[in-house]
Symmetry: C2
Subunit: 378 residues, 2 copies
């Protein structure tokens, strides 16, 4: 219960966490750069936040003179267009709710400046879709501060496309939508994280010598130059989305796994069909791909699947009972910390599917002090 006197002096502070998601039907290519509308639907698994998450604190106060943001301990430019899109859209939604007669927590804060502080508990450079977790967390936390609930994935999408999928736990589809204004381009939970408890996700954190092409500029070049990408988006993905949703609902691992591998390969194929071509798979990726096919071939059973995004990490899907053996196989072929050519696999992390963004109730976990500045321990 905010008292009028409180909002004068004490800031309104909320801290939330949000998860990373791993796409099994890939998003690559926008039909609208501004609104971040994709050329095809996609589907992902939300990783549990016990090992990977973004934590964001938002504070608003009448006494703050300007909006400011700190990311991983470093102050960043608050005028970044995608950040501004999220702030603007959350404020617009808050105003709309108020006009619709929905009571809000603190109406006065609409005119207040915000302070944002966000940290990943994993290196941003690891390329683990940190922008997805980051924008999901920002939008979710802002919504808590402004007291708005309900559909927020359309706002997260305007921060970073795949962030909309981090707004839900479990198995999540991002429906591309058809409208020009993007109002129907939203994420939707297909099944909750409790649906398939045996599923495991191994993230192999790797490093590459060269910095790969960023996904924003990469997908733009692909849309402009790859005729295979256009065909994929229009004619291949719609069928795959339906098959993938059915495989998830039925917990049909071999179908889920094969579609995951085929879609990863097709995404990288469209990168190669881009002009100039984009390579995200390196020799270690090739070796992991061939290892997975040999492993499955050995058992005449699809027990393990790989997927690769626009970075060096490999992500492996399997079932609980196969984790120990497959980890042994991986350790045999990729001894941890061993330098293989120019690429290194740093570590393995095993995940389950997990929930969407959460509010952190413990106020000692706030990243910002009541002065609206990062706490010293940051």
């Amino acid at each position: 219960k905010a008292m009028p006197g409180d909002s004068m002096d004490k800031p309104n502070i909320v801290t939330c966490t949000a998860p990373v998601n791993i796409a099994v039907i890939k998003y690559w290519g926008k039909r609208n750069e501004e609104l971040i509308l994709p050329i095809n639907s996609s589907l992902s698994v939300t990783l549990h936040q016990d090992q990977l998450k973004t934590t964001t604190t938002v504070a608003t106060s009448r006494s703050f003179q300007e909006d400011r943001i700190w990311l991983n301990g470093k102050e960043e430019d608050i005028t970044h267009p995608r950040l501004q899109s999220c702030l603007r859209e959350i404020r617009r939604l808050t105003r709309k709710r108020r006009n619709d007669g929905v009571p809000c927590l603190d109406l006065s804060c609409l005119s207040h400046k915000v302070r944002i502080c966000s940290v990943n508990n994993f290196p941003t450079a690891a390329g683990l879709a940190s922008s997805a977790a980051g924008f999901a967390c920002l939008v979710y936390t802002l919504a808590q501060v402004f007291g708005v609930e309900g559909e927020l994935s359309g706002i997260a999408r305007q921060g970073s496309g795949s962030a909309c999928r981090s707004m839900y736990g479990g198995f999540v589809q991002w429906i591309m939508g058809n409208q020009d204004d993007g109002k129907d381009s939203l994420a939707q939970q297909v099944e909750p994280e409790t649906h398939w408890p045996e599923l495991r996700v191994l993230v192999l954190v790797a490093s590459a010598e060269r910095k790969p092409v960023g996904s924003t500029s990469g997908m733009q070049t692909s849309v402009e130059t790859s005729c295979l990408l256009k065909h994929r988006a229009e004619s291949v993905v719609p069928g795959r989305m339906a098959e993938m949703i059915e495989a998830v609902q039925k917990k049909d691992f071999p179908t889920f796994a094969e579609l995951t591998m085929k879609d990863s390969n097709q995404f990288h194929a469209t990168c190669l069909d881009t002009y100039p071509p984009i390579f995200y798979l390196n020799s270690v990726s090739h070796q992991i791909i061939s290892l997975v096919h040999r492993y499955n071939g050995h058992y005449r059973d699809t027990r393990v699947a790989y997927t690769f995004d626009a970075g060096p990490n490999a992500v492996i899907f399997t079932l609980q009972q196969h984790v120990p053996e497959f980890v042994q196989v991986l350790k045999h072929f990729f001894p941890p910390e061993t330098k293989r050519e120019h690429d290194v696999i740093f570590s393995y992390v095993v995940f389950k599917a997990g929930p969407g963004p959460c509010v952190v109730e413990d106020p000692t976990q706030h990243l910002l002090g009541s002065d609206g500045l990062p706490k010293k321990s940051m």
Copy 2:
């Protein structure tokens, strides 16, 4: 002038040479495995035979008891189905010509057994489309022995698809055709080797640690599993063939070069879209690709193009005036014989476009003696 007595004792011996060709619009995928009918048309440049060629001697004699074949000094199985296809088709054509009243050199030899001896002046393992040159040479030489002339590319095609393009010099298209019997799936010269004298082809002979998937089985898996390959064959290649023919006719190097690179990339993209995926490009290929784009970018002019087939070698197209500088650049980044990761570039060879198969008039060059056995020097 063959005398009846001659054919009793002396064998009829002919020696020919045939060239390697480098596809700039790629052939990948058959619609008929038996007849070797492709799912799309393709276009290649025939390399001059001064440095790379296959030499084949065919001998026929009434005294030979059976058909035999030696390849690169080793006797091979004459019953190989594709070899038998070529022998059968040449004999059928000879019979047809005789029935049509066309005089043949030596009718009696139709019933004679043949001896075939063939050598490449380059290692077969180098993956330089040796089967294309080999089958082109075999069919051309058999045709000389049996005294048939005219359209032979349809027979060479049944030995090895791309062999049909080695039946002509210069710039050659293989028109896919539409008939079920394959009678219209033939090679045709687009322009002779004299048309574009400034064009140069650099072959970078590389070695890879792992033996790649063979093209016959690779393309079969691609046809069965890649939806991008189907789209490429039906919707992308027809337009590219027309553009490429126009670029060759106009000697428009930048257009020729860009189409060559895009088509190489798209071929490798369809290999990656194959399930399980096929990788022919390795880290050295990636480095060469990136070097070519940086080189062209530096000059803001497409001066150099790469193309890669189903093997480790890189082929570079450029114009005469750019060869010295680009070779220096290559030598700087890929010092000859230096081991880079697991891949080695052995050597560079510079080619012009060259003529199709030729008869070797000098009888001392025959690879077979009058006894129908390889000469000792072999």
